[in-house]
Symmetry: C2
Subunit: 436 residues, 2 copies
């Protein structure tokens, strides 16, 4: 038996060198199915063949399910990451220019990027962030930014690099030329129920960050009912793998596992979240929970960039308006304007969902809010939801729980997302763990 097994492995390696065809793929699927990790060169040859049309979605779909079933080692994730990076172009910052980036695994009312990116730049570090669009019930920073009149997110690589150098920060949409293999793989994972596989998630996230050119990353791994990971131990494992695989590419990285059991901020939508970020940066409405997370993430980014007294510097740049001015500078560099940002406002039509009883807010269903806000704002970018309470708050019967904004807004759609109970619920931590 041992003789036979060794022969099979030699055959696969030989095939890797030449062409990874359907027969090689079948053997790779069978080995993964039977619980064996695949060699790095197998992952790389497989992805080259997949991108080149040598093997198709049918075999890849089966392999993905086997990977979800059996799990992937760090070596496997790193190899897949490398193959995805090599499938397309990469951003290269000039030598000597240290750039940091952050990534959120997807949340509701997650305005951290909008706030932390200019904040970190205001403290003297450079931030080059390539960002994604809304996915499912979670918002997308690119969709949100595009509600600012005139603002472009489709920057060329040269424009992106030049803006980071000149302004200190940029948030651009990932171009079609970066990580094309990830786009194809993600679409397949979505259709085949293979999104929730840690190794595949890690490769998808880290490949995008590595291709984006920054030298250091902070990963915000969301955890809870409205995140794609519900369990904090699983989220911590994922966070460790993100940091570990980033390290394989010579990138310093840290990760925070943070709560996503209720919306992070108060606004849920697209343009409505720009308004919340703007007002937060201006110091007009400064939610404690958002502030805590923004400062935690910004100071991790600053530390990675070698900025001293990172937390104090970040808090100061929030307080003195420097972060807001850097936000304006970034918007202007991308074709928007201060005036366009400052005239943005919530739709005048509003409906309030009110507490049907007195008690304590035990839960706010952020997934439902994400889905509702997405539907309402589809043809009305400023429409959405603004919550009036947080989990743990005491409410009296008839008091507002949330306001819906826009033509489609309806209080009755919002009400089922709230659970009100008699006893004050145990407070949940905002940051579950930190990996460095």
């Amino acid at each position: 038996m041992i003789g036979g097994l060794r022969l099979a492995e030699r055959e696969i390696h030989a095939l890797d060198m030449e062409q990874f065809d359907e027969t090689a793929m079948r053997r790779a699927i069978e080995r993964k199915r039977d619980g064996a990790p695949l060699e790095p060169q197998t992952w790389e040859a497989m992805m080259r063949s997949y991108v080149g049309g040598g093997i198709g979605d049918a075999q890849m779909g089966a392999l993905l399910m086997a990977a979800l079933w059996r799990g992937m080692t760090i070596d496997e994730s790193a190899a897949l990451t490398k193959a995805i990076v090599e499938s397309g172009e990469t951003v290269e910052f000039p030598a000597g220019m240290f750039v940091v980036d952050k990534h959120s695994s997807g949340g509701v009312s997650d305005i951290v990027s909008l706030v932390a990116v200019p904040l970190v730049a205001a403290c003297g570090a450079r931030v080059g962030k390539l960002s994604g669009r809304a996915l499912g019930h979670t918002g997308g920073t690119i969709d949100k930014l595009e509600t600012i009149a005139g603002l472009r997110t489709a920057l060329s690589r040269d424009e992106f690099v030049a803006q980071v150098e000149r302004v200190g920060c940029a948030i651009a949409a990932q171009s079609q030329h970066l990580v094309p293999a990830d786009k194809r793989l993600y679409a397949l994972r979505d259709r085949t129920g293979t999104v929730p596989c840690a190794g595949l998630i890690v490769a998808s996230i880290v490949s995008k960050k590595v291709a984006g050119g920054a030298q250091a990353f902070v990963f915000d791994v969301k955890c809870g009912g409205a995140a794609f990971i519900h369990d904090s131990n699983e989220a911590e494992l994922l966070a460790r793998e993100l940091v570990s695989v980033a390290g394989r590419f010579g990138r310093s990285a840290r990760a925070l596992v943070t709560d996503m059991n209720e919306p992070l901020g108060h606004a849920v939508g697209t343009g409505i979240e720009i308004v919340e970020a703007r007002d937060f940066l201006r110091g007009e409405v400064r939610d404690a929970r958002v502030r805590t997370l923004v400062l935690r993430i910004a100071s991790e980014m600053l530390e990675l960039a070698g900025i001293a007294s990172a937390y104090d510097a970040a808090a100061a740049a929030l307080g003195d308006g420097a972060a807001y001015e850097r936000f304006i500078a970034m918007i202007e560099a991308q074709g928007g304007s201060r005036a366009a940002l400052e005239r943005m406002q919530l739709p005048s039509r509003t409906e309030a969902a009110v507490a049907p009883r007195s008690g304590y807010v035990a839960a706010i269903d952020a997934t439902a809010f994400g889905n509702i806000a997405r539907a309402w704002s589809e043809h009305e970018p400023m429409a959405g939801i603004v919550t009036a309470v947080r989990v743990g708050d005491r409410v009296e019967r008839g008091a507002p729980l949330a306001h819906g904004y826009g033509a489609k807004a309806s209080a009755s759609a919002l009400l089922p997302a709230f659970a009100i109970i008699d006893e004050k619920p145990e407070p949940r931590p905002l940051v579950y763990s930190r990996i460095s």
Copy 2:
């Protein structure tokens, strides 16, 4: 949470009724991935959509891997079987005509069908057998029969039914119009490493048998190193499922789990196995192991057909030449002739593999023999291997272990398939278990 789950299930049912699209398929994959059995109507709607082009191989490949991972209930296998049967035409025998069939899960030197089908017919039962081609290292009865000059296996449904009625037996190739979904699904399973899933195997086998029109089946589930199932407990589970699912279609069925750790007979190839079957039926060379299995399977078939003293009847029909005459009648009905059969002979060129040492034969690698014989006989239908020993036999150094026949035959290719040791190995049973 329970509310959400119930809603999701209602949505799937609603979609089943109309169209089973990519979204419905993704939900089905996710549920199977998470360990939930799918409802019979989900399997049926899914297969209708797959055959109709609504969903593609990528999603089906992922579902198959999830099914392999999580297993399938009898209800699921039966639903898939039904969907496969309904994807094509079926054979209908005239009312009142009771027809039996047998199936082997694939072996090396497995000449049981060639012998048992005419034997059972000679005892007064009708046998209508649709058979397959060689697959991997295992032989195919259709390929073997086609080495008889003039013999046709591509019978129309009417020809098949008429021959079973007139001659008492027929062995025909499965037409393209029967179980088209199985052909497509099997090709996909082969590419995606999802062949070894009991529920899928059961559906593939039983659907073909049900579509073939017989009212009763005997399943010969091979088990051992050269079978696709190596473990006798797994083979017994599969055997139970075959009998159980056949029962859902109103078919009586029995199953035997039999050994496939060495070639069943002595000849391995295509035409060379016809010669072995012919000589066995003529009583010239009657291997004890083949005789035991042929009589066990034939008597099970006869009992299902209600023939009294089944075993004695079968032994008598073997002894008095009635089975051989029925074999000739079947061959003639399908375009062959007694003369064509009787002039078949082994190639004159032969090489003998001889024992490199004295001892006991501990193993004969039937998988290797199947592959070698297939390669040798590709362009020379009578080429192949004839073993000279059985596992457990005492051999002296220099004595022949096997003869290779044909232009490509080489003793050195055969020798590695034999293991010779000092002590007599424990004998292995031929029949591990029987399910009825």
